[in-house]
Symmetry: C2
């Protein structure tokens, strides 16, 4: 098998070289006849059978971007075709970044799929971070009214959050992820080796979602993170693998209980309503998603404290852990109260005009999703974080 | 209640005026937790409770076109808001025609929905023919990853076929309905009075799908049509109501058995592979969908006969009934064998490179969906119908 060149950005040693026989950890997402496995481990892209058993037809379209393609595209094509000459693989390489997660880019994917005469038995493969996964999933959901797809997330953000659970979509100029589908993959393959080439800022961005799971539902995991944040930041393979597995378990459990976000699933959006406002108001791609979510979580925690729903130790621990992960704890200085309010008004969690928020309530690891809060606390939080 | 002006195109008498108390015929589409009723009858738009019980939030977006809006939009807004002051209704009026069933038009719907700050509890209402229904359904499927929608079909084509069963989507320049979703409505409301304003050519186009049900699975219905085609063409209300009901029953049964088109549902596409080639090759909107399907059915029947799968009486009866409905029985003269082949190659029924077709086999009312046929027969049919 062809092995791609190691990137200069690699900062920690590879695990022992004999990884092809490594047994992946499997987390199952239980959704009845749409259930699927998440494979987690080192060297999984060197195990062609993992991918191949989830490809049912003869044609595959790999969707990736200009950053990921040079390092991993050949490796994925090899994994798909090794010992499997009947499968042909096409690829679309998109520009990298949240600002390309729109309908114009999506149409390029449809153009390629249709010009290549892919049929209903084809499989789309998302190779990249959350932007690629979200777009590829929505493209797969809509192409010929639905074809199979596989997620190969290559960032912490995508591995611990966006690749799991079937939320797919694109942005509209007025808001994030406003157009999309709930559409589940055939499998998620997380090769933790791909994190060796991930930039520092992307690593930290993903850890924002890891921290989120601790805050909303897993106090024990939060405590583990408090102790192990230096190891995570140093890309200790065992620490990363554990954080990814535990995050996927948390996400899989929530998604299994509430696939279409009737209620519980919304709690996974702690900090995201404030965070989406930052991403949309400040311009897609200026801040990474996890950076905006980090500042958003601080705002949600601040508001929870103003409401008297949590004690100040949780506020302090949230600030401390985000700073340990080198994540921002305030929104960009150019954000105004009005910018927050205008974007938050089109949030998907608005119901009949009422903005519902995820707020912490009670001991660490407990939260609520509610529209029943004092508007004054929201106003105070917005004013406290904006000039 | 406000009643819209009667169009000059009205060609038959209205049923007795006291229609507001008419009890609708109900055909149920049985899809588990996504089941829904089809209401069929005269004067149903004068019965606000029928629509209102399927609107769950406070905001409604009606999608219609420049042809339908002047006659029916006010009536539908009244039906949605009569005695229901908490509901507010917005509308988007699109240009009329298949050539606007594309992503550019769809984005205008998203723009309107987002600018109006519609939330997940809103309901989209499709008021119009198949183009409006297909686009509105896909918009509802993708907006905020899915909101409720209601179909109010105003053409025979939409009432007997496209509004039922949840196939939604838009065209791509290289082929029809290549981008979309399976997405079921909350209900379908068929007010047969809307047919009074339908142009002759649109009436005939819809009857092509009615004839289809007879050919593929309902010989008794075909025989009824042979006797009653003059009444249908004269818009006899009882004949039309029966044809719509029986068509919806056939469609609902097939959709219930095979929602996602694993096999059986594909049989509803008799003549559509040839027909789509005509629509795409000849230019969207030059021929109405049913006109293209009529010529396509003749070609499928011709091919079935060449394969020795049906006897010549079925060929003759097919030609006779289509001519009685003033439908074309040959493709446009400009269509070439190559044009057919290039569009048919991207048909959604291609699987791993093999084009599967719906062909008649056996006595009237029987068909097969198969890729197992002699290529020579397909070639002969194409050459027989192209110069």
């Amino acid at each position: 098998m062809k092995v791609s060149a190691t990137s200069a950005a690699q900062v920690v040693a590879q695990p022992p070289s004999n990884t092809t026989s490594a047994v992946p950890t499997i987390v199952d997402v239980d959704l009845g006849d749409r259930s699927y496995p998440i494979y987690i481990g080192s060297g999984l892209l060197d195990q062609p059978h993992l991918l191949q058993k989830h490809v049912h037809g003869k044609r595959v379209l790999v969707l990736t971007n200009t950053t990921v393609a040079p390092t991993y595209l050949d490796k994925v094509v090899s994994a798909l075709t090794h010992g499997n000459p009947n499968v042909s693989v096409e690829s679309v390489i998109l520009p990298d970044g949240e600002k390309y997660k729109n309908m114009d880019t999506l149409m390029k994917v449809f153009d390629k799929a249709i010009e290549s005469r892919l049929d209903r038995r084809c499989t789309f493969v998302a190779l990249g971070g959350g932007v690629i996964g979200d777009m590829c999933g929505f493209a797969a959901a809509a192409f010929l009214r639905g074809v199979n797809f596989i997620q190969i997330p290559t960032t912490v953000m995508a591995q611990v959050d966006s690749s799991v659970g079937g939320k797919t979509g694109i942005n509209h100029r007025l808001g994030k992820n406003l157009i999309g589908a709930f559409y589940q993959p055939e499998c998620v393959l997380i090769d933790t080796d791909t994190l060796n080439t991930l930039p520092e800022r992307e690593l930290a961005s993903g850890l924002a979602e890891v921290i989120k799971y601790g805050l909303i539902r897993d106090a024990e995991f939060f405590e583990w993170q408090e102790k192990n944040m230096p190891a995570l930041m140093a890309r200790d393979p065992n620490a990363l693998a554990y954080a990814i597995k535990r995050s996927c378990e948390n996400k899989a459990e929530v998604v299994s209980l509430d696939e279409k976000e009737s209620g519980l699933r919304a709690t996974l959006n702690l900090g995201h309503t404030f965070g989406h406002a930052i991403e949309t108001g400040f311009g897609y791609g200026q801040w990474l998603h996890g950076e905006a979510v980090a500042a958003g979580m601080v705002m949600a925690v601040d508001m929870s404290y103003r409401l008297g729903w949590i004690d100040d130790s949780i506020v302090k621990r949230t600030l401390d852990i985000l700073q340990a992960a080198k994540l921002p704890i305030t929104p960009p200085e150019t954000m105004t109260v009005e910018m927050f309010k205008s974007v938050m008004a089109v949030d998907k969690k608005v119901a009949d005009g009422l903005l519902r928020l995820i707020l912490l309530k009670g001991p660490l690891g407990n939260c609520v999703f509610t529209g029943d809060y004092d508007r004054k606390a929201l106003d105070e939080t917005l004013h406290a974080f904006c000039k």
